[in-house]
Amino acid sequence: MLTLDQILSFKNQALALISQTAKPADLEQLRQEYLGRKGQINALIKQLTHLEPGQKSSLGRAVNEAKSAITQSLDHKLLATSHTPDWLDVTQPGTQPPVGHLHPITQAIDEITRIFEHIGFTRVRYPEVDWDFYVFEALNMPADHPARDELETIFIDGPKHTKLGQMVLTTHTSNGQVREMERVKTPPIRMLNIGKCYRRQQDPTHTVMFHQFEGLVVDKGISIPHLKGTLDYFGREFFGPKIKSRIRPFHFQFTEPSFEVDFTCTSCQGKGCRFCKSGWVEVGGAGMVHPNVLSAGKIDPKQYSGFAFGWGVERVLRLKPGLNIDDIRLLYSTNSDFLNQF
């Protein structure tokens, strides 16, 4: 009478024998012995027919398992022992699987996301078509304020909202600042808002549609050194270990104090070159969140403070070593010669 133990020991013996056999011809012989029409497996299956139905199914499974284990083992061994030509040309071109190209903007966004998520930032996304309130008014830029001039705003044709004003295409990701305060309600906030922005300009260094990433940190006791630490960290991670940051005075309506942020030039590592002149390159703006902006987001500026920065993805991409793309309009051109490089 066939037993489970018999089947298992048969399987183990077979596997041991296979592993000790080296010649392909011998392995072929083993295959005939075990798996051939008159082989041992079929012999076992024949024995199954004499068993009672209950036993038949459990032992049948064991035989099946033995069969597939022996088959796999033989296949592996054959693969390992056969095809060993005496000469291999590793210098010849390989058969490449076709592979596509991730857009450089996506690559940069992925990298920026990873960098800021490491230090606890939450990636969010806010409307690309937004009310004047979030894009300007809540950011301490009332109607007709000269600070709006530089933003080259694109307006949507349509009626004004009674409270929130005109509908516009976001000129910057800063519209996420008050929206994030409204979402979170009570700090801490560490926001990373990455999105499409639009301005009425198109030339080799500007595109009418572009991308920005915006950082916003709000909590108790947030200070200028926290901004500096975050900038240094980003510079090292994104541009390289030797890259430093510096901040210089500037003016934005929605931050006080406001800064212009420079990083060490990646072409000359800060020595000064034809491209940067001073050893530094300007990347964008930053500042300590203006109390009026916190108030607009219903956060008490007496208790909380924060910093914010917002820069162009295209800008930081171009400053990567080796990526001095002279005409960024190429990014949005569906030019395959360009895209296939990435």
Binding site: N64, G100, T113, P187, R200, Q201, P225
Partner: protein, 622 residues
């Protein structure tokens, strides 16, 4: 705003031994940004960017004041000289002012003027013209040069009229729509209305205030009597006129940023002095100065702790005091703001900025905040979007970005009426007039590509619904495209049904796949539906312990039979059918590979035979 000044002119207001390079470096770190230091023949030129809040730095004096505060922080001696504040007292008297004057004070909070008689218009002395020319201002004649000198040296725009060309009276008022004026540069403007203008007794407009003077009252080579004119205007009006007419003169750019009214008297006195030096002529009238409401001096309370908190370092009261004093502020923690900073410095944070920047941002440490990390994330699954992109790239697709703004032609090709699109009010180009509702018309490229981008669906009274779509395009072979979509679904662990019109999971529509032109195939999928229906991990199945029975069945089907439902029908015959795949097709003959398996016990041909005939009969019934 940009301003260029020469090193020699700066030294007129600043005592220091610092080199121009050092001055440029220190100013950029702590004050106005020196964008370029240009070496000229015998001088240096600072090309600077002045931020819009610091109109007080639109003159050499303001820059010198900054330098005098900043340089000592770098251990360099520097001292401000020839400061114009406060004005000399008493104000010199003179003959009665020859014109009647009526001024709307809302439009002109400070109106001052003085007559200089018997002037001879000729070229200006070398020193003045040198300063101007080196700083990029053309030297014309002594009268014009004086007003240009005053503006660049102190940042207060100044105008000069030919007194004898003005008829009896000056009325400063708002323009009426349609009134016309020809300005100094010969341009004729028909005014939109509500522009600040001056009319004379003949109701002729003689000045487009704050923008440019009128040609009819301009100083020329025959001018004898000059009216020196120094004012402050309502910034909003100047800005509106300047923007509407597109006349962005330096004067307009300064006036719209509200320069210091306290500067008016010192500048007019300096002007009188320059006329005396350059033309030898005294003032020919009293100084008229209509200044009914001088602003009160402003105080801001700043707790020392706030400064320490924001700077993140210990700062002494002594240090804070010395920094603030060097910039013209008085007292601490109750800080009196100097008149030239009255509009810019209004809250404690503004004072923090002054202390911080002069203290030096480069002296502050950098550290990542040690506060609580927020964990209340929004629900959007951005990670999966990233995964989708990477998977598609692995399947030989290239990612492209196309513009959200589209032409009328593309909007009309979207399947939505043109009127149901959001329209751009001030389109930069005909190519960017509407916000797209579909990505399909934008994808005209000839290679397999994909894009994840928003579509914009208007909702009356609300912001549009921004729907994120995944489009896979550039295929001429439907089956290749379909295969990619199926593979993507496999990676996302989505089992979807493809009906002739849509792709479904249960009742949720994932999107569509189809032909948009005779040979152009596109899949258009909703990213939120994909992410909602997907899971990162599969529902694990225990590994099979029984062997399957695999066999092929060939059927001849009528033309234009949808294959999906046929395969579903086969599959539905029995739970013992593990899978049905299409192996081969030849004309109307389709070979399916059918895998039978019972996970609990080994199937035999005996078990499969009835299933086989059931399949045949089901398909025969159609």
């Amino acid at each position: 705003m940009n301003i260029s000044i020469s090193h020699s002119w700066l030294k007129e207001f600043l005592t220091t031994n610092a080199s121009p390079e050092k001055i440029a470096e220190c100013l950029s770190l702590c004050g106005p940004s020196v964008e370029e230091l240009e070496k000229t023949k015998d001088d240096y030129l600072y090309h600077m960017e002045v931020t819009t809040n610091r109109v007080d730095m639109m003159g050499v004096l303001g820059i010198a004041r900054e330098a005098a505060a900043i340089l000592p922080q770098f251990g360099i001696k520097a001292r401000l000289k020839n400061d114009l504040y406060p004005p000399a007292r008493p104000i010199p008297a003179g003959k009665p002012f020859p014109l009647k004057v009526a001024v709307d004070q809302q439009l002109c909070p400070r109106f001052s003027a003085v007559v200089i008689s018997n002037v001879t218009v000729k070229s200006a002395p070398q020193k003045i013209s040198n300063y101007l020319e080196k700083s990029g201002i053309r030297s014309l004649n002594n009268v014009v040069d004086i007003s240009n000198y005053l503006m660049r040296a102190y940042g207060q725009p100044v105008h000069t009229f030919d007194l004898d060309k003005i008829q009896a009276k000056m009325v400063l008022r708002l323009s009426k729509k349609g009134e016309t004026i020809t300005t100094l540069d010969g341009k004729r403007f028909t005014l939109p209305g509500n522009d600040i203008v001056i009319a004379d007794a003949g109701n002729r407009l003689i000045d487009l205030c704050g923008i440019m003077g009128g040609l009819n009252s301009a100083v020329d080579n025959n001018t004898k009597n000059v009216l020196l004119f120094v004012q402050i205007y309502s910034p909003k009006h100047i800005r509106a006129t300047s923007m509407t007419l597109g006349q962005r003169s330096e004067a307009a750019q300064i006036f719209e940023k509200q320069p210091d009214p306290e500067l008016v008297m010192p500048v007019i006195l300096k002007g009188i002095q320059l006329f005396k030096q350059l033309t030898g002529r005294e003032q020919g009238s009293q100084i008229i100065d209509l200044y009914p409401q001088p602003p009160k001096s402003k105080n801001v309370f700043v707790p020392l702790q706030l400064i320490k908190d924001r700077l993140g370092v210990e700062v002494s009261i002594k240090k804070v005091n010395s920094i603030l004093q060097s910039l013209g502020f008085k007292g601490f923690p109750q800080v009196t703001v100097p008149s030239w900073r009255a509009n810019d410095v209004t809250i404690a944070e503004d004072i923090v900025e002054e202390v911080a920047r002069i203290y030096g941002y480069h002296h502050l440490p950098g550290l990542i905040m040690a506060t609580t990390i927020p964990t209340n994330y929004p629900a959007t699954n951005l990670y999966l979007e990233q995964q989708i992109k990477h998977w598609l790239v692995g399947m030989d697709l290239t990612e492209i970005y196309t513009n959200s703004m589209i032409s009328q032609k593309l909007a009309e090709a979207s399947g939505y009426p043109l009127s149901a699109h959001l329209k751009i009010k001030n389109a930069l180009s005909e190519d960017w007039q509407y916000l797209r509702r579909s990505l399909i018309p934008s994808h005209t490229q000839a290679f397999p590509a994909f894009e994840i981008a928003n579509t914009y669906h208007p909702r009356p009274g609300h912001l549009p619904e921004e729907k994120l779509q995944l489009i896979i395009s550039g295929f001429t072979d439907h089956l290749k495209l379909k295969g990619i979509v199926e593979s993507l679904f496999r990676k996302l662990h989505i089992s979807a049904t493809f009906t002739p019109t849509e792709i479904l999971v249960g009742k949720t529509q994932l999107g569509t796949i189809g032909r948009v032109a005779s040979n152009v195939h596109i899949a258009d999928l909703s990213v939120s539906a994909l992410t909602n229906q997907s899971s990162l991990y599969p529902h694990y199945q225990a590994l099979p312990t029984t062997a399957p029975i695999i066999e092929d069945m060939t059927f001849t089907l009528p033309p234009q039979t949808y294959l999906g439902p046929i395969m579903d029908t086969i599959k539905s015959v029995s739970p013992l059918i593990e899978s049905v795949t299409l192996k081969d097709r030849y004309e109307n003959n389709f070979t399916f590979t059918i895998t039978y398996r019972n996970p609990k016990s080994q199937l035999t041909d005996h078990d499969v035979a009835p299933l086989r005939s059931k399949i045949t009969s089901k398909l025969a019934l159609g």
